[in-house]
């Protein structure tokens, strides 16, 4: 199978990689993974921003020089939704990361637009008591 363009939405940010797809298996070149996701295969393991995750032994992650996308997500502990037919996948944030942040009780900062598209951040209101309300039209 020749490589094809594949989109990975990395926590909301779409990046394009070259991938080979066979049935449900998506394999990426290490070069592609480095450019798009910042993970580099090094002797210590899979490294990003000076932090390395050991690669488990066996052929799952590195398959004939290519990186298996599902194995990659599993090694870096990220939920992954894949649509091989649509050539797209979404890499989310793990339950562990979210739970740790919430347990710290430090309110996670965010920046969102208002109706006019003007961005607002939670952190702009530090020093005030805040009532945060999620609602919807549905």
């Amino acid at each position: 199978m020749p490589p094809t363009t594949f989109t990975i939405i990395d926590d909301g940010r779409p990046v394009q990689v070259q991938a080979t797809i066979e049935a449900d298996h998506v394999r990426l070149s290490p070069e592609s993974v480095k450019i798009a996701l910042g993970w580099n295969v090094e002797p210590e393991g899979l490294c990003r921003d000076g932090l390395c995750v050991p690669i488990p032994p066996g052929p799952t992650l590195l398959d004939g020089g290519a990186i298996d996308l599902r194995a990659l997500a599993s090694v870096v502990d990220r939920p992954l939704a894949v649509d091989a037919a649509e050539r797209a996948a979404y890499l989310g944030v793990s339950a562990g990361d979210r739970a740790r942040a919430l347990t710290s009780l430090r309110a996670p900062d965010f920046t969102l637009p208002d109706l006019d598209g003007r961005p607002h951040s939670l952190s702009e209101h530090r020093g005030k008591k805040i009532l945060l309300v999620a609602y919807a039209s549905w």
Binding site: T7, I9, G12, P14, P79, L80, A81, V82, D83, A85, E86, A88, A89, Y90, L91, G92, V93, S94, A95, R98, A99, A101, L102, T103, L105, R106, A107, P108, F110, L112, P113, D114, L115, G117, H120, L122, S123, H125, R126, G127, K128, K129, I130, L131, L132, V133, A134, Y135, A136, S137, W138
Partner: protein
């Protein structure tokens, strides 16, 4: 809906921030324009805030203190009694507690209590959010049928997550107040679940 309490308490170092969990600013626009809020009124089309705070339904409220600490984790409260006949929840109780906290008459929850009352996402919940993220991206690309698969899968993985199950209905051309929703709600409550899950007293 929250404008009145904001006006009442804004001079006491208090602000309200509302976040509409909607597919577009235009879905939220009639609500925001009717309320004419003077406080920040934001829109989370991508479920970024939803994911950060483990929001699974609306309305969800949180209290955050001056130092940026969560002092009341995800809870259910309404600003008015407009929907009391449906929800069985009275606005007054939460408003009284909120006033007391803002005025310094009563403390919020201790860190220990706040942690004990927090709901944290499971791996299935985060997998569901990834399915939603993929579905929403595909939908915006015009790949509507593929998107549907992922919205449905997300709902199966996290059946309590109504930001996915009900929140995607307008995207999928389903009336979120109509028979499909009532059917979903009936199936949910008939198996012993609650649609609104406020914190225990």
């Amino acid at each position: 809906m929250w404008q009145a309490v904001y006006e009442e308490l804004k001079d006491r170092g208090f602000v309200v921030i509302t976040v509409a969990i909607d597919r577009s600013p235009d879905d939220a626009r009639p609500w925001i324009e009717a309320a004419t809020p003077a406080h920040p009124s934001l829109i989370d089309t991508e479920h970024a805030f939803v994911d950060l705070y483990n929001i699974v339904n609306v309305p969800t409220i949180l209290w955050i203190d001056e130092s940026g600490r969560i002092v009341r984790p995800n809870d259910v409260a309404f600003g008015t009694d407009t929907f009391k006949h449906i929800t069985g929840l009275e606005a007054a109780k939460h408003l009284a507690a909120l006033r007391a906290w803002v005025k310094g008459d009563a403390p919020a929850l201790s860190s220990e209590k706040a942690r004990a009352l927090q709901s944290k996402p499971t791996p299935a919940d985060q997998q569901a959010r990834a399915e939603f993220g993929l579905g929403w991206w595909l939908h915006k690309q015009g790949r509507v049928e593929a998107a549907e698969r992922h919205f449905v899968r997300g709902g199966e993985l996290a059946p309590h997550d109504f930001t996915i199950r009900r929140g995607t209905m307008p995207i999928r051309g389903i009336d979120p107040m109509g028979p499909k929703f009532r059917e979903m709600l009936q199936a949910w409550v008939s198996t012993g679940n609650r649609y609104y899950q406020p914190l225990p007293e």
